[in-house]
Symmetry: C2
Subunit: 218 residues, 2 copies
């Protein structure tokens, strides 16, 4: 019997800020690898990541023992391990709901596929869009999402619909067994504890800056 | 003499999560206003914002007394006040550094201007881009940023350059007196305490989902 408790508690031990830094380290390591660097010190990673070398060592120590005292980290080895840790070595199947501007842009973004995120299908409610194709990706009726998910096993659901529809789409994804949701809608979505969500909303972030400026200049 | 301490401590009392919800409430209120609704209850705002009515009342009470018992909030009044609170009633001058994909997309996005964010100039290091124009927005040499900022008073600086250049651009913005920075680079930037920054990075957010999935399925 699969134990669902332990991986979740393991996840909870790794703070969001650490995962974010792991992504940043990986980005720098890929550049170092491209330029043929064999090793890198925690000092250099810390400087690139805007943190301290103690923090770099702490972040990496969660996942095992890396690096050699005096030599630093081996670039190809650490790059490979970070890709594995971040789940970038495999293919994730992505279903995007909302074939609007954001949904279409994401489906066509080459960098997304390169990282292993494969858009299996786009879903929309508009009869004008359903049945069309974007490159090789079909645009399907959103009502098919649940039955398709059962057959095609989507790993990640992307919500790219207006705010009003976001929770309904999230509920449909959860019911379809999707465990990871990226929300681009300007709405807070509520999901069960075993589903992971991230929100990306440029508008909200700019309004936070605007709020800060308006209240600073009072 | 202007007192810079009190507005900053006032800001610190308002959590990020509250500001984010204020933006969400405003979005819903604008829709309600468009459909001619006169009043809205904290229950309805709570449901739309994925929170509780007690939280809605608490969020709004920070900024004064709104609403009438039994009637709820007056939609046009609360909409106007939230726009003011979020600093959306005025024009913010924005300088974007990096005339690549993200920088150009942002400069051309109509919704950005509608909210009061006016892109004054784009900056780039590439001689091929400097001197060109995007619609009416000039693309200028990044080395001019500091001297231009002194004359043109930019409110918000947008970092849309590769990770390696992000901190340098941030330092230039800070030295030029810019107090609010939006960072699209996949890099952590460090700024003084009186400068507000927000980061938007889709790649990092997707990698966080990937990390969660990889470790859940172990």
């Amino acid at each position: 019997m699969k134990n669902f408790t332990s991986p979740i508690s393991y996840l909870k031990r790794v703070p969001d800020s650490t995962v974010r830094r792991l992504s940043l380290y990986l980005g720098f390591l890929e550049e170092l690898e491209d330029s043929g660097e064999a090793t890198v010190s925690s000092d250099v990673l810390a400087r690139l990541g805007g943190t301290t070398s103690a923090q770099v060592r702490k972040d990496l120590s969660i996942f095992g023992s890396f690096g050699k005292r005096g030599l630093g980290y081996f670039v190809p080895e650490l790059t490979t391990r970070l890709r594995e840790i971040l789940g970038l070595g495999r293919d994730w199947h992505v279903a995007i709901v909302g074939a609007g501007k954001i949904g279409l842009a994401l489906a066509q973004y080459p960098g997304f596929r390169e990282k292993g995120f494969h858009v299996s299908a786009l879903y929309d409610a508009s009869p004008a869009k359903v049945g069309t194709r974007l490159d090789s990706i079909p645009v399907r009726d959103v009502h098919r999402l649940a039955s398709d998910a059962a057959k095609e096993h989507f790993d990640i659901g992307v919500i790219a619909v207006p705010a009003d529809d976001a929770q309904f789409v999230a509920d449909t994804m959860v019911a379809a067994g999707i465990k990871a949701i990226m929300n681009f809608a300007p709405a807070q979505i509520t999901v069960p504890a075993d589903v992971v969500t991230r929100t990306v909303n440029m508008g909200l972030e700019f309004e936070a800056l605007s709020f800060a400026l308006a209240n600073l200049s009072k």
